[in-house]
Symmetry: C2
């Protein structure tokens, strides 16, 4: 058993989890998995961090080039994040013949193809299980156990921050701002929460999952993302009354004319397993032509769950190195499917409006929906305020997104309509 030497780049939350797992389990991995893994070099911008983690000074450096140039290093773990310097680190490590393990969703969603080609070109492994769903095994299952399936759809709750916020809004009636403040207080949300609440984090993850599920490259910029900022506690409450939960869903579906991929708040039936996924938990629902419906559930973030996936990948790479099996399963994007325009989406819609409460208003709105071929399933006046404004919730039958958008543009322009508060897609999974 030869020792596999690893350079760990980035000693933040996940990096410290990796150090912790290897400290506790290196001997177990020798015995149980038959690989001997040694973290031998550590890179971080902060020298203080080395000391905090009790790392030997001679193994630590602030210059990643030291690790790339070190011929004794077999594997580089990239936990820097982002698409700038992280990309250089990954590509230069691969070029130096080192396998790479990364948790970097943004990088894989934006530059996945280049990176996988570079790994294949240099005959090494690139592994990125931790980039989606924290510790939940999902990339492995899609590339292995489920590879016999033609995947029809992937539905993911893949952002724990927003799922925590939506759970608090649903269970305790919090409004968006209060829920966000609480998420920040608990360390679930960043000071600048944009990547989470605007759906960009989820978009990167579904780009990665759909690339694998449909064997066709999907990049971050191809995923329309809508976040949860405009959701009110009313929406969550009205959805519950109708038997639905609202979740920020990352959706990817195989359609005849291409891949339907998007991130947005979604109403799903409250008896669906995904509706029960609460708090910071994540879940990915995969529908395959043979396996039927499967779901993978767990903690989508946090130091140890993400490090669990990183070290799982690391052990896998070590096994490959030891057996001379690097590059066993590389890029699987062997097909090219177009991405469907979200305007072609056909689903039903929940629309909440504030209108002047006077005769003829409902009729004029209904007729604008009708003119745009949007047929209505229900309309409910929820409440009227002292100013004579009424809150109205419409639910449409299945309609094309572009027709709904055109209708809403004209409805919003009506003098009697104060505002279109929320438009939420309703999915029957």
């Amino acid at each position: 058993m030869r020792t596999i030497n690893v350079g760990l780049v980035g000693l933040g939350t996940v990096g410290s989890g990796v150090v912790d797992i290897l400290r506790r389990h290196r001997e177990d991995f020798r015995r149980r998995a038959g690989v001997d893994i040694a973290l031998t070099r550590f890179v971080d911008r902060s020298i203080a961090r080395f000391e905090e983690l009790g790392l030997p000074p001679e193994a630590c450096t602030t210059d990643v080039a030291d690790v790339i140039a070190d011929p004794s290093i077999d594997v580089v773990i990239e936990l820097v994040g982002g698409t700038g310097i992280a990309r250089d680190i990954v590509l230069s490590a691969l070029a130096a013949g080192k396998s790479v393990v990364t948790a970097n969703k943004a990088l894989m969603a934006a530059h996945g193809q280049d990176i996988m080609e570079a790994a294949a070109g240099h005959g090494v492994d690139i592994a990125f299980e931790a980039s989606v769903g924290g510790g939940i095994p999902i990339i492995g299952p899609l590339k292995h156990s489920l590879v016999s399936n033609e995947v029809a759809a992937v539905y993911g709750i893949v952002n724990g921050t927003t799922n925590f916020m939506l759970t608090r809004m649903a269970e305790d009636g919090l409004d968006y701002d209060t829920a966000l403040a609480e998420a920040q207080e608990r360390g679930y949300a960043e000071a600048d929460p944009a990547a989470d609440v605007d759906g960009l984090d989820a978009a990167a993850k579904i780009a990665i999952l759909s690339s694998i599920a449909f064997n066709s490259r999907v990049t971050l910029d191809q995923v329309p993302a809508e976040g949860i900022r405009s959701l009110g506690p009313e929406d969550v409450a009205y959805a519950a009354e109708m038997g639905y939960a609202i979740k920020l869903m990352a959706i990817a579906r195989r359609a005849e004319d291409g891949i339907d991929v998007r991130v947005h708040p979604t109403m799903i039936r409250d008896d669906h397993p995904l509706a029960k996924v609460s708090g910071v938990y994540n879940a990915i629902y995969v529908v395959g032509d043979s396996v039927g419906e499967t779901m993978f559930f767990g903690e989508g973030a946090g130091s140890l769950p993400a490090a669990s996936a990183v070290v799982g990948d690391l052990i896998e790479v070590a096994r490959h190195l030891q057996s001379g099996c690097l590059g066993l399963v590389g890029c699987t994007c062997n097909e090219q499917h177009p991405i469907r325009d979200i305007g072609s989406l056909e689903t039903s819609y929940y629309v909440r409006l504030i209108v002047s409460d006077r005769p003829g208003v409902l009729a004029s709105i209904a007729s604008l929906f009708g003119e745009h071929d949007v047929s209505l399933a229900s309309v409910i006046q929820k409440r009227t305020d002292d100013l004579g404004d009424a809150e109205i919730v419409w639910v449409t039958h299945t309609a094309a997104e572009r027709d709904v958008r055109s209708a809403l543009a004209e409805i919003e322009a009506l003098e009697s309509v104060q505002s279109v508060c929320s438009v939420i897609r309703v999915e029957e999974l």
Copy 2:
């Protein structure tokens, strides 16, 4: 790309699913997974079956020895089931240098060690994802993505037949016999339902999962199994009143002094994700020291779901064959932990009794529990019938199984106790 030739032994429900998937997707697998898989030999006892599946007569035989002796065959798929002839087929195929894919839980639970050693000895793969949870990826994740974890516990709902029956009992108040008849009518239960309703099917599956999860061989005969025959609709209803669901759970836990492994009806809090797993669906809940709590959910049986796992394994073996990477991950039972006696189990217990409804009976029962160190959390008299018999439900605090059993033996012997109807373990997951 060289063609991987496969001999398929057993053309029942799962076998026909495998034929179906390869017919539809062989070209896709070439393109997407880079392997060319050809089913070239078929074995079944029934000649009629060959015709029903439209297989070429020259590829079909009733004698498995033809396939074992055929040097062109790279992989044998064993779907015969049982531990008799299936064991010979698997061992002779491995001895002939062929890799084997099997869905045979009984075989792997009883003879897993011999089979894995034989595969290692001959330098070939043995794969058995389909033996647990139908199409749900669980063996793959445990051996790969989650391998970085010290697994604390595995909780499985791994028998679809009994889960269907319990769901019908819970949701519609059916009794055991009616639920069984309905399961048989729908083809979920065999004419002889013993393997399902007595928990033996689940016991084989948890033997396999705990062997992998704890790196220590657990065999079928080491798993105490208790089925659902004695459960009444009252138990299901009373559990629901108390905020619990009753599931037939396969449980494996790491304890300081060994492995705690067992199958029995279990009361779990109804807000736990496992409580929501209904009908023929299966789920496996894995608790790891780094990943935390994860769950894998899907269809646990049926032709195509099980075939999905078989073909997933087949593609994996084909990749290994093609790259010269056979035997990459073999047996991982590198430790030896004792199996704990179920008498040492400590949990709380739900006990339903029929007793004579007269003064002093409750007191004498309570004092017998007390004499055996079983402390009581609650006692509720549920109803009294015309004959003067009362139904009483007791819930204990945490107690040792052997103490509860001793107490119940004496309680059952009381003249005033008509019967101990049900004893159900309550688990706080």
